[in-house]
Symmetry: C2
Subunit: 393 residues, 2 copies
């Protein structure tokens, strides 16, 4: 709440705010690490003839979007129409709303298109395609739609070889609306381990959309866009033949789940929650902090991985992890720091008022609990800027 005034006061005094002066809990973003992560994926994709359409649902911040997009106008992927509207207001002109469209949402899609935003929708049923076609006819505007393909059975989408359904959807769209292409997301890759398994996920993702595109094209239907994407597959794919664009989101910050899958090192994680020590239960081996699940989210994604990180990995204020020290439990505004079960070693000596930084299991859900990012670089405690973020639908 008062962080901005801390930053403003510091600026007025001619000195930078420090992490020690911020209200806690709050979100810290290491800009060096973020820029490294962005450069890494861009470098990886440079060998392929594809564009990068980053998913902005992780960041929900205009400043982060501008850092991660290949141009201020996009392309980009969004998960809500609220993101589409706010990024459109910031100049983004090419977006895919990558959650199956509900017919009642088409009015807002048309509003954004009328403002000059090329916003495309995603669908996997004939009913949705007919609703898009009807809304397009009524508005005299061809809404572009991509057919979602189910490459790994984890969520929504048409089976890649279900020609009858693909063609029925494609024909319902083509003409009254616009059949923009096919899209898939290898969500199952989050559960894969090792380069071979991840490459198989990437190939299943590619194969799914390429097969579906071939069915559409053989029937004389257009399919200009062939879109794949997940952070694990984007970092392991070796062949993108037939694919036109790659989407990925969490790579911009990375997190403990991605480290557990082996996509990044813990040292690459750009996001952390700054917290203050508020108590001890020494006989239990607990240190209490003012960051509970409201600040960390309740994501326990690492509980299913080889290394269970609790609610997060505890670092010093410079962002360096204490060995085997995790946020073992969390209430709404209380976090319990403890040694990982079975670990040797000792808790750090932390006094009331000392500050720590907690690396999150899942960057998307932890960031969603906060209204802004406090920017630092590397191990410096100097806060360079505060970037707002938004939520809602």
């Amino acid at each position: 709440m008062n962080d901005t005034s801390v930053l403003e006061q510091s600026a007025a005094n001619g000195k930078a705010a420090s992490l020690c002066e911020l209200e806690t809990p709050c979100l810290v973003l290491d800009r060096d690490r973020m820029e490294h992560n962005i450069a890494r994926l861009r470098g990886r994709l440079a060998r392929f003839d594809v564009s990068l359409r980053p998913h902005l649902k992780t960041a929900k911040s205009v400043e982060v979007a501008r850092a991660v997009m290949t141009s201020p106008a996009g392309p980009a992927t969004v998960s809500t129409l609220q993101e589409a509207a706010l990024f459109a207001a910031a100049g983004v002109r090419d977006m895919i709303y990558a959650v199956g469209i509900a017919p009642a949402k088409l009015a807002r899609v048309l509003e954004l298109r009328a403002e000059g935003v090329d916003l495309a929708v995603v669908l996997d049923t004939v009913e949705q395609a007919e609703a898009v076609a009807a809304a397009s006819r009524q508005a005299g505007v061809k809404i572009p739609a991509l057919i979602e393909i189910d490459c790994d059975g984890h969520r929504s989408g048409v089976q890649p070889k279900d020609a009858a359904r693909l063609l029925a959807i494609g024909r319902a769209l083509d003409g009254p609306a616009e059949l923009r292409g096919v899209l898939t997301h290898a969500g199952g890759s989050y559960g894969a381990r090792g380069a071979v398994a991840l490459q198989q996920c990437a190939e299943a993702e590619r194969r799914g959309v390429v097969d579906a595109a071939a069915i559409l094209r053989e029937a004389g239907l257009p399919c200009p866009v062939v879109s794949v994407g997940s952070t694990p597959t984007a970092h392991h794919v070796t062949d993108l033949t037939g694919v036109t664009e790659v989407r990925a989101g969490v790579f911009v910050f990375f997190d403990l789940v991605m480290a557990g899958v082996g996509i990044c090192a813990v040292e690459d994680i750009a996001l952390s929650v700054l917290a203050t020590v508020i108590g001890h239960q020494r006989e239990k081996g607990w240190i209490l902090i003012d960051a509970g699940w409201m600040a960390m989210s309740q994501d326990r994604g690492t509980a299913k991985q080889a290394v269970n990180q609790g609610y997060g990995l505890v670092c010093d204020i410079a962002g360096v992890p204490y060995p085997d020290v995790i946020l073992a439990d969390a209430n709404q505004e209380h976090g319990v720091i403890a040694l990982r079960p079975g670990a040797d070693g000792a808790l750090p000596e932390l006094a009331i008022g000392d500050r720590v930084r907690i690396l999150p299991n899942h960057a998307c859900s932890t960031a969603a609990q906060h209204r802004s990012y406090h920017l630092v670089r590397g191990g410096s405690d100097r806060v360079e800027a505060e970037w707002p973020r938004f939520g809602g639908w």
Copy 2:
């Protein structure tokens, strides 16, 4: 985002907005159920000589606060200084910030006290007491503090019979600051089952603070406030001798975890998330909706209970549960509706665009994902009002 305009347009047209017109996902609050829940706890506590100090962390809404508090000025409990500041701006004058105080937060506490708000802090160490005393001396204002007591080993607090620590804290406060009393929270009661176990939790909670108060008073220290509270114990306590006030929070809405503990019926749950059907995977028995963990939160509190409700219990638009139909899985903006594992029966016939309401595992965490409540009464789909809520620290 556009919900307000839907409500405004409807008002301008002289008709009430309906749940079918709202953007989804969004939060629905059944005012009849909320009022029933508030009346129930007030009726229960009327037999005791205690005041009710509701915890406003569940609602974070001025309108809900006014419905649940016994006067517009309080008393109330808050979990963040942001809540304290915003409720103070709405006229609340008597609050306890019930998370162990960090010394750096005392400046904001003093700011609110200077505005005429009787804001008390909570602590459990001599270091915190000395910081409160020092800040009080420096400001020339006696900050009131309550000593947190650990009645069940679940989180923070001084052991009830640890006279040395109690007296050291009390003596550090008394004089320079104000020793307002003792406070505890039977968080362990969430894991209890059955009236006998819950009454034991309530008695341990009462015993803890009454014992600690006696130690302080016998040493000549003041202890005017003796504060207990959790929703399960408040609904089962049979003896509050020596206690001056009861705190409870989630009772205002209730949720599936509280129903699982046996504190309420599913039909008492006042909060739900309105969502729209966006797809089917019929061969898997899945219906996809536009409410994932961003709308529901990732709370899986019922996973440890006898009946695992997944990410929530699925109801029709009137709020009536479909038998054994749960939100079985959730991604950021996708929810997967399925039959409970092992259940007989069938999924409801729901078409693309149909609407459902999902009862949450945990009202505090689900509400925290949203910016407003849409008010309905009973099974009506008429939206009476939209009440804003806030987050942050």
